[in-house]
């Protein structure tokens, strides 16, 4: 192509523009990127944390003689987690609570139940199911099954209070905060957060304690009634108990596969 004066001026103009723009692009690039020297922070699990494939609990109801034996469980749990004591039963918040056999195991209930079973109090809590229906229905993924240890956890930050999980849970293990709970917490535990109005809450298998290497509060207070361990570890205490004793679980026909086992 024959170079004309007109073409030369065009190319010269574009080149000048390019040189002029370069510093601006460099500045933007520098702002966008992070400093090359600082390493990225690391998020890791606590060193002494207890780990498992699926946490499970065995309740030895043979050891429950009266209400006095199980009362410390509820107290220990509710105190440590700032669970409010609602005066109105309809607004009740519960993480672990007593239940009669025919309520806890409606599918196993018979008309002429043994007197002993009839009078036994069954402590019930979130079963941390292996196939939890609450997780499936949650539209915001506020409740989810943690891959690392099988605990069904709630992220209160994400909960929008739609209460689908309340409807989905066949065990009534979830409670909804119709009111601000802070007035109803008798003794506040400063180390643990409370919840707010408009969120669902439930037992978290004391995942905050597990991360510090200690067993759940109810297990600690149970005096041997409750046993906690890894369901998929053949040497764990829960597996031994399940292998040696006849255990029942709540509403297993629903296919949720609860991880709380009851020795009757």
């Amino acid at each position: 192509m024959k170079s004309s004066r007109r073409n030369f001026l065009k190319i010269a103009g574009i080149t000048a523009l390019g040189i002029g723009v370069r510093p601006t692009i460099d500045t933007i690039a520098a702002v966008g990127g992070h400093g090359p020297t600082e390493p990225e922070p690391i998020f890791k699990q606590n060193e002494k944390a207890l780990t498992a494939k699926q946490w499970a609990m065995v309740v030895d109801t043979r050891k429950i003689k009266s209400e006095k034996d199980v009362a410390p469980l509820y107290e220990a749990c509710h105190k440590i987690h700032n669970v409010p004591d609602m005066p109105n039963k309809r607004h009740e918040i519960k993480w672990i609570w007593p239940e009669q056999f025919h309520h806890a195991f409606p599918d196993l209930h018979s008309e002429f139940l043994s007197e002993k079973i009839h009078h036994t109090i069954f402590p019930v809590l979130c079963n941390h199911c292996e196939n939890p229906p609450c997780v499936r229905v949650c539209p915001t993924k506020a409740t989810f099954k943690r891959e690392s240890d099988g605990v069904v956890v709630m992220d209160y930050h994400r909960c929008i209070g739609c209460r689908f999980c309340l409807a989905a849970c066949p065990y009534g293990a979830r409670s909804f905060n119709f009111f601000d709970p802070r007035e109803y917490i008798k003794e506040i535990n400063l180390k643990f957060a409370r919840r707010t109005k408009g969120v669902v809450e439930k037992c978290n298998f004391c995942e905050e304690r597990l991360s510090e290497g200690i067993e759940p509060a109810c297990v600690e207070a149970s005096n041997g009634i409750l046993t906690f361990g890894d369901l998929y570890d053949p040497n764990s205490e829960v597996r031994k108990l399940i292998a040696e004793n006849f255990t029942i679980r709540r509403k297993i026909h629903l296919g949720t596969s609860p991880a709380v086992y009851y020795i009757v």
Binding site: E38, P39, E40, P41, I42, F43, K44, Q45, N46, E47, A49, F144, R146, S148, D149, V153, D155, Y156, H157, D180, R182, I188, L190, K191, F192, A193, R194, R195, T196, E207, S211
Partner: protein
């Protein structure tokens, strides 16, 4: 042109009104708040991250912390200098910055942001004085 004087006067009034926030602030702008550090925070010298980072990005940090703790069960934070921290607003942040009113609230009020963190997380050790 008709009503020339009225139109010009109207434009001048409009400009003055529209610019009101600007010149109002020039005359009387609220001074940036002074945050008060507790003795413990002073003794610690450096926060989880550098002061500059914390000033601009503490909310980003807290957001990543909450996801890490709840969703991944990872509760230990190793900062770029290699120091480990327990990721907890109530137990780590507010343990040092226990003067929420003088430290957190002053800036939040100035910037007119009202985070709802304290609806649930207790401002240790005051214990629920919002």
């Amino acid at each position: 042109m008709y009503n020339k004087n009225l139109v010009i006067a109207g434009i001048v009034i409009f400009v003055i009104l529209a610019a009101f926030p600007f010149w109002f602030n020039v005359v009387k702008s609220a001074p940036a708040p002074e945050v008060v550090l507790t003795e413990k925070a002073k003794a610690a010298k450096e926060c989880v991250r550098s002061k500059e980072y914390m000033t601009t990005d503490h909310m980003v940090l807290l957001d990543t912390w909450r996801d890490s703790v709840l969703r991944d069960a990872k509760r230990t934070y190793v900062n770029p200098k290699g120091v480990e921290f327990n990721m907890s607003l109530s137990n780590t942040c507010l343990d040092c910055h226990s003067n929420k009113v003088e430290f957190c609230d002053r800036c939040h009020d100035y910037a007119s942001v009202s985070p709802y963190c304290w609806d649930c997380h207790i401002d240790n050790p005051q214990g629920g004085t919002e």
